[in-house]
Symmetry: C2
Amino acid sequence: MLKRIRTQTAHSVLCYPVAATIFPTLFPRVQFDRAWELQSIYNELYCVVAGDEQWIYETIKDLFPVDHFAADLWEIHEKVKQAGGYVQDISAGIFRSDYMLQGGDVEIGLDANCNSSSDLELKQVEFNTISCAGGCHASKVVDMHRHLAKSGVYGSLTDDKSLCSLSSLPSNNNTESLAASLAEAHNMYGQPKSKVSTETAVLFVVQPDNFNVADERPIEYALWDQDIPAYRVEWGSDVLKYTSLSDTQELLFHPPWRGSQKPVEISVVYLRAGHEPHEYDEQGKEACLRLERSRAIKCPSLMAHILTFKKVQQALTVPGVLERFLAPEKVAAVRATFVPMYPLDESEAGQHARSLATDPEHAEDYILKPSLEGGGHNIYGADIPQYLSSIPRSSWSAYVLMERIPSPSVGNVLMSSERIDSSAVISELGIFGTCLWRKVGGQCDLLRNSTAGWSLKTKYADVDEMSVVKGFGCFDTPLLF
Amino acid sequence: MLKRIRTQTAHSVLCYPVAATIFPTLFPRVQFDRAWELQSIYNELYCVVAGDEQWIYETIKDLFPVDHFAADLWEIHEKVKQAGGYVQDISAGIFRSDYMLQGGDVEIGLDANCNSSSDLELKQVEFNTISCAGGCHASKVVDMHRHLAKSGVYGSLTDDKSLCSLSSLPSNNNTESLAASLAEAHNMYGQPKSKVSTETAVLFVVQPDNFNVADERPIEYALWDQDIPAYRVEWGSDVLKYTSLSDTQELLFHPPWRGSQKPVEISVVYLRAGHEPHEYDEQGKEACLRLERSRAIKCPSLMAHILTFKKVQQALTVPGVLERFLAPEKVAAVRATFVPMYPLDESEAGQHARSLATDPEHAEDYILKPSLEGGGHNIYGADIPQYLSSIPRSSWSAYVLMERIPSPSVGNVLMSSERIDSSAVISELGIFGTCLWRKVGGQCDLLRNSTAGWSLKTKYADVDEMSVVKGFGCFDTPLLF
């Protein structure tokens, strides 16, 4: 379900079903399993990188003049250090690594003669470190597909028995797994440390006018079911209004309904907000600073948040970089999922990328992505040269250029609140990872490293952007073969 | 959730939250427990009465000329007998007995000096034997109230600690309990009996344009969770289109998505339709006849369906009648929940009722109810004399006159999709009962007799009708004291 924001009143709200495919979509089991196995390595990589402040600074510092978001976040980081530094050495992460299949001229099929899956490669679209959404929606949709398979609805539509077989439709426990990782962080925080609190709780920081509440609330309820209190507060002014820092930097939450009773000490701050540049007005910056300065375990911390940016993803593809963070065999596994990415700056690689991006013929094979955003503002293929010519050359370095992943399309029927259409479709597999790590000196001590679940999103093959909210994409279930 | 029917399209539908109270409503624990204990006696009563065709005929036969619904149902019963009689001697029931508290001048409160609950009496509003709704909604709302209590939201709004205590807010397992009764009926049906089927399933017969799907689907899913297939078909033409009777009267379901595969033999027909007069057009009658003629266990059977009518409720209040069906100690317990009810026919009691109903002063204390409906078309108090003068005197006997239950009001805040209001409110407690019985000769052999759960509905004190769908009432949780 998604909330229909414009219908919201003081007493009620309409909602509508989240977009979903009618059928599960063919996806090779070997690539699904591979993505699952890779997650613990990706978790490790990002936990280790998050601890390397120097590398992060070197990677993003050139963006400060051209992208205020980069500058804003780094300024908050500097302010934390000026105010005495970080007082919590444990960080939590709920990550999602997104992949597509590479092999656009391969036909995916169930034909026994078509040994196609071995010709396909798993390529990473992006790695998300903050506010990773869709876990609960994905669980609902797989439950739907599994129910339809059980009830025999798919039976007469295909001769293939596997569509009716539950073993081909993986279930997932995203909600419980994500809650379990927050619960572990909560337990690790331990007893209240401030003098004024006698209880601890997890705090969900959410966006105002939130259409995605049905993707967040189940995680909150799953915590309550374990007797872990979980509250929510809106990003920005409400964080400032309802929280405070104790003398010893515990984050205190003052529930508005409690009046003058004791505040609740926050063990874990789970961010489902703060990932968009517009959220960093003065109040947003101040809210972020307060959370970062506090003793609460952040999911994610500011350093881990910065890693979500495309600039970081691109920097990790530079030869030799992965070796700085991972053992050789892990480097190879991760690198195999990379596609070429380039900065669009004044460097040699950047000059090469600029020549590709401004050439209409070459540009066709690329996507231009803002360096510092989580997605949704990409420029695709043939549109790139014209777009670049419309902005000052000085701001080109705020972008990275990524090779398009030519992905095989299969048939499905997509159902959103706008329309229902039979179409050629392309899928994107997301793997959720959860971790918990302690920074000890310059080292990262991994306390938890789990693969938590998955989501599959499927869009029309002729639409570039994967967005369920905008009606281009649907939640889906892989039909493993 | 309720579906917003007028927004339904081929690919999507809007829905909105079912109306709920903001707070749980005070309700005396002793009366709650009493209603719970009474249910097994009521279950027994209605199972036994359902087997007494002669008594049912005598009770409703005078209505045939004035109410076509009575005549329609009895005609179907006669046709079943003409076609060879009932071939299934087991019946299932999902019942709901509704109560209000009597004692309008008693103040309900938590004041320790106010020993009010002992001055209150539990009085039955009606007994429902078909398509009893609200079980799943009620579970959702109690989960909400218990969550709000756990999260401390109620803490500062009252000094009373019991509002924060979960032991005062009973949980319920309506969905699982109702599914369990259907599962037991399914298992009792046993293996497929027809030559053409190899599997059995429960069939939900539902209304077209069904706003209440969120109250039905969870029961269906709970059956699937026990590996019992459950399908749904719409009342009327779809029943005729997708079912057939085998030579040996098994009910065969032909899922439209299965093509020419083997039909599914229906073990249990669960009716969430067929309870409204307008549903008995020619196709509705034919559908009902087919279901009744079949070997499937009906929940409820036609005889049990007829017992839902107000005329039957009134007839059971006639002195000496309960003694025909129950042991003396059970008679007393049931009778204590009755309020005076009268027929509005030519009998002596009817003449007395007519004098009450046509006198504006007396009429104030009564409700005029159609004899053969499940509710929603009542005439209240001062409106009765004028209403009766607007219809032919010959149709008066289609009504019963019931004394109003003066119920104590308490304060609450009601939230529906239309409005949110603080108000004096009055509650109605429903207790769900499930049973399974076999007719052996003239005797009723009770195979299952369970109290399955409860629902509490609360309305504005100044509104006569209790209707959640019309926005007058809310689902609620009793705050037991």
